[in-house]
Symmetry: C2
Subunit: 169 residues, 2 copies
C-alpha cells in the first residue's frame, strides 16, 4: 500500500473538525458552569495581535477548503467570517466538513504534480501538490486546531490531549 495526497489530508481535516466541534461544546459547558458569557471564549486570544478563538476556527475552515481547491482545481465555497457565537462557530465547522465530505477522492487524481504558489511576506514559494500538502496544508491546519485548544485551556476549559487526537470518550 502507498499513500495518496487524499489519504494524508482529507481524513485529518475531517477529524480536526470533529475535534473543533467537540471543543465548542466543552467551551459552552465551561461558560455555563462558570456563570460567564460564552462570547468571552469566542473572543479570547493569547496575545493582542493574535487571532481569537473565532478566528482560529475560521482560518482552520479557510485553510482546509482553500487547500482542497488548490490541490484539485475545484471551486470551493466562500464563507464570510461573520460568526460571533459558539453555535455559529459550530455551524461554520459543520458546513466546512460537509463540503470536504462531498469532494470525491477522484478529484485529487492530478494533485501531486500541481504547482501551488503561496505568497509569504518574504516572497513567494512554489510548492508541488505533495510538498504543499506536507509542508503547508497539514502543519497550518494543525496550527489552528492546536491554538484553539490552547486558547480554551488558557481560559480553564477542560479539554485534553486525547480529545485533540480525536478521542472523546
Amino acid at each position: 500500500m502507498s499513500l495518496s495526497i487524499y489519504d494524508i489530508t482529507v481524513p485529518a481535516l475531517l477529524r480536526g473538525f470533529d475535534v473543533l466541534d467537540y471543543y465548542m461544546d466543552r467551551a459552552a459547558e465551561a461558560a455555563e458552569a462558570g456563570g460567564y458569557d460564552p462570547v468571552i471564549l469566542v473572543n479570547a486570544r493569547l496575545y493582542p495581535d493574535m487571532i481569537a478563538l473565532a478566528g482560529q476556527i475560521q482560518r482552520a475552515s479557510d485553510t482546509a477548503k482553500a487547500s482542497i481547491g488548490r490541490l484539485t482545481g475545484l471551486e470551493v465555497p466562500s464563507f464570510a467570517d461573520t460568526e460571533t457565537s459558539l453555535p455559529e462557530l459550530k455551524g461554520r465547522i459543520a458546513k466546512t466538513a460537509e463540503f470536504i465530505r462531498g469532494v470525491p477522492k477522484a478529484a485529487f487524481a492530478d494533485s501531486e504534480g500541481r504547482e501551488i504558489e503561496i505568497k509569504f511576506r518574504a516572497g513567494a514559494v512554489t510548492y508541488t501538490g505533495i510538498s504543499y500538502a506536507l509542508e503547508f496544508m497539514l502543519p497550518n491546519f494543525y496550527f489552528h486546531v492546536t491554538t484553539a485548544h490552547d486558547i480554551l485551556r488558557h481560559n480553564g476549559v477542560k479539554v485534553g490531549k486525547a480529545n485533540y487526537l480525536g478521542r472523546f470518550a
Copy 2:
C-alpha cells in the same frame, strides 16, 4: 509517485526541530531585549496544569523518537528531561534531530503493517503503522511545536506563522 510513511513523517519532524531551534534563538533575543531572565520563558506555560515551554520541547523530542522506534522497531536513545535553559533546550533539539537524520529510509520498510498500541486514559487504541503516523504521530508532534509557538507569542516573543511553516528569512 506515491508516499511512504517515511516521506510523510521524517522531513516534517526535521523541519519541526529547525523551527523549534529558531524559536529558542528568538526567545533568547526577546529576553535580552526585554532585560529579563530567559529562564522565565523556559518555565512559561499557558495554564497551571499544562506543561511549560521546556516540556513542549521535551515532548516533541520524545514523540518524534518514540514514534520512529514504534514504526521501525529500532532502539531509540533515551534523553533525561534535565534541560533548564534555552541553550540546553537547543541541545535537546540538536541531538533529537541528529538521531532522526541517522535513521535510514530502509528502516521504515515494514512500518505500514505494524500494530502499535497506545494507551489512553479511556482505554488502549491499536493503530496500524499508517494510521499511527497520520492520526497520532503527526498531530501530536505539531501540537507541541504549535504550543511552544503559542507560549512564546503569549509572552510577547515575535515569532510568526511563516516561521512555524519553516520560513526564517
